[in-house]
Symmetry: C2
DNA sequence: CTTGACATGTTATCTTATTACATACGATAT
DNA sequence: ATATCGTATGTAATAAGATAACATGTCAAG
């Protein structure tokens, strides 16, 4: 049960200009932050919400969320499955898919369609329409506030009389740290 | 070589309030329109653009685009592959994937991540950042102008210093016609 | 303690996508 | 006209992602 520590691997900037940020920073996945706290809080919130909704946060489900929370990146269902199997849970795809489905339904995790993968939600419980920012440099994923995007989307749909049920907005590019790093490579 | 006719199957509204629309209507996929013209034009533009770019619009590529153009909906790679095989082209996945990749790269088709599928571009050649509207009722797909959404997205990214490379905006819901049809079913 | 709803586990299968390698085609330069 | 090189096509094999169907286990209400 490796409980990975502070600077989450692959999600933490080391370069210059990196500032430590608090839990409410939208782009915190891209910066140094107290990841232990970040994890604990998300887990706690999920537990509380599940309880409040009369749902069961079972061992597989909790562990699945823990696994996703370890890093600020998306994981494929099979990657999650392997981890679960290591921990003594079932070894077959539905085990992972069901837990992930539950987490997504409850808003504790998100599905990143572009990557066919899943990522822990950074703001469980808060109604939000996140825009996903996917860094191709370090694979980190951040959720940016998507209220405005969502609004623009709604308008665009209304112009053609389309009734939106749900939407996904995913952008790939470079996080601040990888922008600093990449040019050296390209040059 | 079935050259599918006017009202594209699955893409054309039959209900009340349906108006015939011109080729420049953003949501035309959801309405009655001259699909033959719509197809011919897109194909012609693609040909011209390929030529202008010094690229080869080979038989598989052209046929692949034709297949996508038949209907205003997304098709899976294997569905396209089957059609290609019928026409005497190769029967293995790379045949379809390569042609589709070419079309997407050249902006003649789009990849709809949410559906793991592909759809012909409604505006080849015109620089545009489409928002995809996917109707769950009839599977039609329309491209709405995404300039504003794109702008909002850019701002959201800038707030966290993220450099967007490309983005996908996909909304699922009901097209005008299916909105009229659905309530009867639900009731 | 039984029952019913829900959760977990397994098998099997399906769909989507890629890697690797062989063959054919087409434009260019001899 | 033909050698050549880059590009396109074809095939086989397999990886990666996802679901259906069914059996078993668990927990809490009655």
């Amino acid at each position: 049960m490796s409980d990975p520590i502070q600077p989450a691997p692959g999600a933490v900037a080391k370069g210059p200009g990196v500032k430590s940020t608090g839990a409410d920073d939208p782009g915190r996945a891209f910066h140094c932050h107290d990841h232990g706290h970040c994890t604990t809080e998300a887990l706690g919130r999920a537990e509380a919400l599940a309880a409040a909704r009369g749902l069961r946060m079972t061992p597989v489900r909790r562990r699945t969320l823990e696994i996703l929370l370890e890093q600020h990146r998306a994981m494929g269902a099979y990657e999650v499955l392997d981890r679960l199997a290591e921990d003594g849970f079932g070894k077959q795809p539905p085990v992972a898919y069901r837990a992930l489905e539950f987490l997504v339904e409850q808003g504790f995790a998100h599905r990143i369609r572009r990557l066919n993968a899943f990522a822990a939600c950074a703001h469980p419980g808060e109604a939000h329409r996140p825009v996903f920012l996917i860094c191709t440099g370090c694979n980190a994923i951040a959720e940016a506030p998507g209220a405005r995007v969502s609004e623009a989307l709604k308008l665009a749909a209304r112009d053609v009389d389309f009734a939106i049920d749900r939407a996904s907005v995913e952008a790939v590019g470079l996080c601040p740290a990888c922008q600093s790093a990449a040019p050296e490579i390209r040059a």
